[in-house]
Amino acid sequence: MNDIEHHDYDVIVIGAGGAGLRAAIEAKQRGLRVALICKSLLGKAHTVMAEGGVAAAMGNVYEEDNWMVHFRDTMRGGKMLNHYRMAELHAKESPDRVHELEAWGALFDRTKDGKILQRDFGGHRYARLAHVGDRTGLELIRTLQQKAVSMDIDVFMECKVIRLLNGPDGSVTGAVAYWRPTGEFITFGSKAVVLATGGVGKSWKFTSNSWEGTGDGHAIAMWAGADLIDMECVQFHPTGMVWPLSVRGILVTEGVRGDGGVLRNSEGNRFMFDYTPDMFKAETADSEAEADRWYDDHTAGRRPPELLPRDEVARSINSEVKAGRGSPHGGVFLDIASRRSAEDIRKRLPSMYHQFMELAGVDITREAMEVGPTLHYIMGGVRVEPDSGSTSVPGLFAAGEVSGGMHGANRLGGNSLSDLLVFGRRAGMGAADYVEGGGGNDAKVDDLLVQHYMDEALEPFTREEGENPYTLQHDLQEMMQANVGIIRNGPELDEAIEQLEVLKERVQNIAVKGGRAYNPGWNLATDLPAMLTVSTCVALGARDRKESRGGQTREDFPKADPELGKVNFVQSQPSGGGFNGEIKIVPEPLPVMPDDLRAILEEAPK
């Protein structure tokens, strides 16, 4: 019925960043009918913007490195809130996934003896990030894209999924989407669905994310019955551009610090020495001389405090600016010019050089950059079973930034790209196993439901007068930046939750102008319900986690609470209702870590 374009597949993968591409490749290799769907053109997902590298304990630069050290770094960086099994699989499997990319044509930078070169990053004990200058994400996405295309996977680009479809038993049966170029609807019937839709950054004013980061996957998963965990844990990357205003939030890779760049305040001090938390004191340098020795030889000194995990560095910058020691445009200085030769900088950080030269008129080989925190990543997401990526909804799988658990309360740099590869593959396997086991065999698309979702999406066209979607988005961003920012407190979070209810009212009164074909105003109107749902989840989680841990910092509860360190906050919508539905939030105990893994964590750092 409905006269709309329809396709049937064994597996549809929603999202064509690293996670989605890797999942699609895996399912296709199993001989299944696979479709890959994305909102932008193929190859333009956030993954393409990743700069610094992909973390994998290959031990090419420091032989001492191995999966156990990587596991330990990841768990400590995540403030122990991580799902231990995900951190374990990730640490064990990422070297194979990086080597696999090489077999598919990737060209990583090399060591002198011809192996893959690895660079230093915050929170990683050893130089661990395989990279290509500062455009690692481009290499990763292009390699996967070229592999997927060579396998003849069907790609639906500029096609936005608005809802997942459930069968009578609750299992997933497909999805409803529209083509952005024409505005026409399209439905997919599918035995299994892999979600790989990335992050949520666009709900904040200053973010490194693009227009795509509207949390669609988080929202449609919860609307379809899946659980979300740790949504309060969002990451502010310490170094985003702060000036000119129009580029505020755009990322400055951590690779700048990994390669020797240091942070200074307006008085010229390397202020990070004043902020080393107890947890990291034993392994962090306490003088500039010691820190500087470390760059050349990691055994000659302890690591510089500039390379503490991101949550620590971001909070420290915030404090310096608040104390009146910031840079002219409200950031701090990131200086690599005085520390490395111009030639080195241009070679190791070409796109940073380019970005500052063209956008800010700053030559980073001669002057310091001005940087400040920017919303970058969400650790929380769809709750998955680590080995297969399956969710609480039968037939629904998730991987990459949209899934939760892997990174705990704070993600280490470089651990996302490796996460995409490891768990993208596993979700592809999980979906293929499900289909091969007969799952989803009687999945049918419910036409009435489809009609309902289409009507909902078209509603803004029916109003003559109403809210401008851009104004609403702007108000949401201002509100989240002000009330659910890097430093939080109870009253502001309550205010945010109240404001979000008001915005939910307003979103039902949006009016859009023009036709359906390539209409960004309408497209945004269809993104806003998801943005409101995920924003609400972040605010609720932040309200209930009355402690400071990783990406969650409460000024009214400045310390970590050991009891809260034992729970995940799980959110769901038991009675449905889409973006207007009631959200239930409950603490649930973390999965229990086996003793052998616990022993790795307790070992004294070497």
Partner: protein
């Protein structure tokens, strides 16, 4: 400062017209920022592509004052002051709406590239020297903005060529594979016979517009033309070069690893 005056093409495949917008300038803005401000106020349905806003994704290609440029990397204060800024979609591709063009031609040509084919992974992994990977890395910087395709006269002025011409973006892809230390797939006949390498007459317009400063003609197309000739046209050169210079590797050759 005086207002910025924008003249933006609005329309679809059935036609359209320029519309004028006038806004207060803001410090440090790029053309994309101005377009976003127009979207947020006067014209919420103004279509344009973008993602990274930092020259990394190649989404925002269009023509500014008739020249292909990335909207996100073109600062307003670098355009002639006080003059109107004209923005149009890339001309070589069919239009979808406003500044968005249908770039599927490029994706189709990418589908026709025979896959990378390395020898089996040796014990201890592949070894490649930095010098050897650097040649390919230059081409892999490509952000697929397709501006080189837009500006290449073989495509821009002759719609009919699209069936048998891959264009500069794909020529660098073929060159990259050709120069990849591990690849063993021979695509030289294909590039010559089906991808129209011979139609390129080295005008270098592609190199001039590349935002990644890839030397498309000098480092990819010209060497590729030489190798293609090696493979076929000139038996004497072919024989001579086969002996003197390494051309395409055999699987056995490709699996020889540089010394540790």
């Amino acid at each position: 400062m005086s207002d910025v005056k924008m003249r933006i093409w609005r329309g679809d495949k059935d036609g359209g017209e320029f519309e004028n917008y006038s806004l207060k300038p803001q410090e440090g803005e790029v053309v994309l920022d101005v377009i976003h401000r127009i979207q947020a106020t006067e014209a919420p349905d103004l279509a344009c592509r973008w993602n990274c806003k930092a020259g990394k994704c190649g989404s925002c290609s269009a023509e500014i004052n008739g020249k292909p440029r990335l909207l996100c990397m073109t600062r307003m204060d670098q355009l002639p002051e006080g003059e109107e800024v004209t923005v149009t979609p890339m001309r070589a591709f069919p239009i979808i709406r406003d500044l968005v063009s249908d770039v599927s031609y490029n994706f189709e040509k990418a589908r026709q590239v025979p896959a990378f084919l390395p020898p089996p992974r040796p014990e201890g992994g592949y070894r490649m020297s930095q010098a050897d990977v650097e040649r390919g890395q230059e081409f892999r910087q490509c952000i697929e903005c397709f501006m080189c395709q837009d500006v290449c006269h073989v495509i821009r002025d002759h719609e009919e060529n699209k069936t048998n011409y891959a264009g500069p973006r794909l020529f660098i892809r073929y060159a990259e594979l050709e120069m990849h230390p591990l690849d063993t797939n021979d695509r030289r006949d294909l590039v010559r016979d089906k991808m129209g390498l011979g139609m390129c007459n080295i005008t270098k317009c592609c190199t001039e517009v590349c935002p990644e400063h890839i030397k498309i003609t000098d480092n990819a197309i010209i060497p590729l033309k030489e190798r293609v000739v090696d493979a076929d046209f000139d038996p004497v050169a072919w024989l001579g070069r086969k002996i003197l210079r390494r051309t395409k590797r055999t699987p056995a050759e490709a699996s020889v690893q540089p010394e540790a």
